[in-house]
């Protein structure tokens, strides 16, 4: 056992190196001239994760983005993840809680029998078999190759059937005219929206805003990563610890898993 654990880091860097190399080969071929002209000073260390996807490459099904939320670490009364999401996507709200959009929300649970309370963030679970996608009449709700469920607002007609179908109440309808939306979070009246897993960040090899905020506060209740990569932090934790899907009975194979519920 000990041996195999010690071996892990080595194995890890190996596998990443090779995948990175393949990216680099493809990439350098295309932009060799740019590389030559690039002004990054020698010796500058750019910390970056190894599987960076060049902006011009399409996402593939080799990856499945997912998240693990440890409710034991999720602090009661803390809503940093919610604030970060609102800030990131410009979900300002109109002081009308019934109609204001919420992509992620803090939910408090109290056991009816024992009185034990806990809190957790609830967001779009990025289901592998998303009911919202199944019911959408125009195909506006869709699941990206890498497992992120999005709404194509260009063809969403605002019928809200997806909201009826989502078991997690993860979706919001835009009830009013909006202006000055964030450039990477276009959203407008009459269409439906939900958590995007911060797809604009993920495509640039970064972590969703909620996870970043949770980590920045040192709560570390949220881990984001590639469920298909056995070496990712997420996969390792998922393998090691028992986790649950909410409403597992529906067999949606959610991308968001919870510990401690």
């Amino acid at each position: 056992m000990t041996n195999s654990r010690q071996l892990q880091p080595g194995a890890l860097s190996m596998s990443n190196k090779s995948s990175f190399d393949s990216y680099r080969r493809r990439f350098l071929g295309g932009v060799a001239s740019t590389v030559a002209g690039m002004g990054v000073a020698p010796g500058v260390v750019l910390h970056s994760v190894g599987h960076a996807k060049p902006a011009g490459d399409a996402v593939t099904g080799d990856v499945r983005w997912g998240m693990l939320i440890d409710t034991n670490k999720c602090a009661a009364g803390c809503d940093d993840c919610v604030k970060a999401c609102d800030d990131e996507h410009g979900l300002t709200g109109f002081d009308r809680p019934e109609t204001d959009a919420q992509w992620i929300r803090k939910v408090t649970l109290k056991d009816k029998q024992t009185g034990h309370t806990q809190t957790l963030p609830l967001l779009c679970q990025h289901c592998e078999k998303p009911p919202c996608v199944d019911v959408c009449p125009t195909g506006a709700s869709f699941r990206r190759e890498d497992g992120i469920v999005l709404v194509d607002k260009h063809i969403c007609i605002g019928c809200r059937y997806c909201m009826m179908a989502c078991p997690y109440k993860a979706r919001s309808f835009v009830h009013e005219t909006l202006q000055d939306q964030k450039p990477f979070a276009p959203r407008g009246k009459g269409t439906v929206e939900s958590c995007t897993f911060c797809v604009h960040r993920v495509d640039n090899d970064r972590t969703p805003a909620c996870v970043e905020a949770c980590t920045a506060e040192n709560h570390n209740a949220m881990v984001f990563g590639d469920m298909n990569d056995p070496d990712s932090e997420l996969s390792r934790q998922l393998k090691k610890y028992n986790s649950r899907q909410i409403r597992a009975d529906l067999e949606l194979n959610t991308g968001v898993r919870y510990r401690g519920i």
Binding site: H47, F184, E212
Partner: protein, 170 residues
């Protein structure tokens, strides 16, 4: 459907009106649109991301193509991105014209040609600053659980832009 209509209109516009425009403008015809200047040039030789004639005729095709690639495939190149059009063609002054006013770059022409679009019901019609969370910081988070690559091996257009000292909007 709508795109075809738009394209039709713009083709009419481009083929029928534009060639004669300089002459008409010289004749001081105040009915013709006044198109606001862009903020930068792509290069010495070329103003826009494609030759201007092509852009006038086909900009909606470029944007549409880019839109689907970005949304469905996560391709985030910036050459044909609507956000970049806005960043370059619309001033970020607080009182800059909004879509619908003839002083807005897009409406200046669309109004004239009676083109209806709904881009700006969801997209900002003026450059919008991104939040602190989205400042350019690739790879500062390592929670993806991959090993960290050192050195300047990683190049993408974002890094190019920072290196060149430009601002980056995604």
């Amino acid at each position: 459907m709508r795109i075809t209509v738009i394209k039709l209109w713009c083709t009419v516009l481009a083929l029928g009106l534009l060639p004669g425009m300089p002459a008409l403008l010289n004749a001081d015809d105040s009915l013709l649109p006044v198109i606001p200047e862009a903020q930068h040039r792509v290069s010495e030789a070329q103003g826009c991301v494609e030759p201007v004639e092509k852009m006038r005729k086909d900009h909606m095709e470029y944007i549409l193509h880019q839109r689907d690639e970005t949304m469905y495939e996560g391709i985030r190149t910036r050459q044909h991105s609507l956000v970049e059009c806005i960043n370059c063609h619309v001033s970020d002054a607080p009182d800059a014209a909004r879509y619908g006013s003839t002083e807005h770059f897009c409406s200046s022409c669309h109004k004239y040609a009676s083109v209806q679009i709904d881009c700006f019901q969801c997209h900002a019609d003026r450059p919008v600053k991104t939040s602190r969370h989205n400042s350019l910081a690739p790879g500062t988070m390592r929670l993806h659980g991959k090993s960290v690559v050192e050195k300047d091996d990683l190049l993408n257009d974002k890094l190019q832009a920072t290196a060149a000292g430009g601002t980056v909007h995604e």
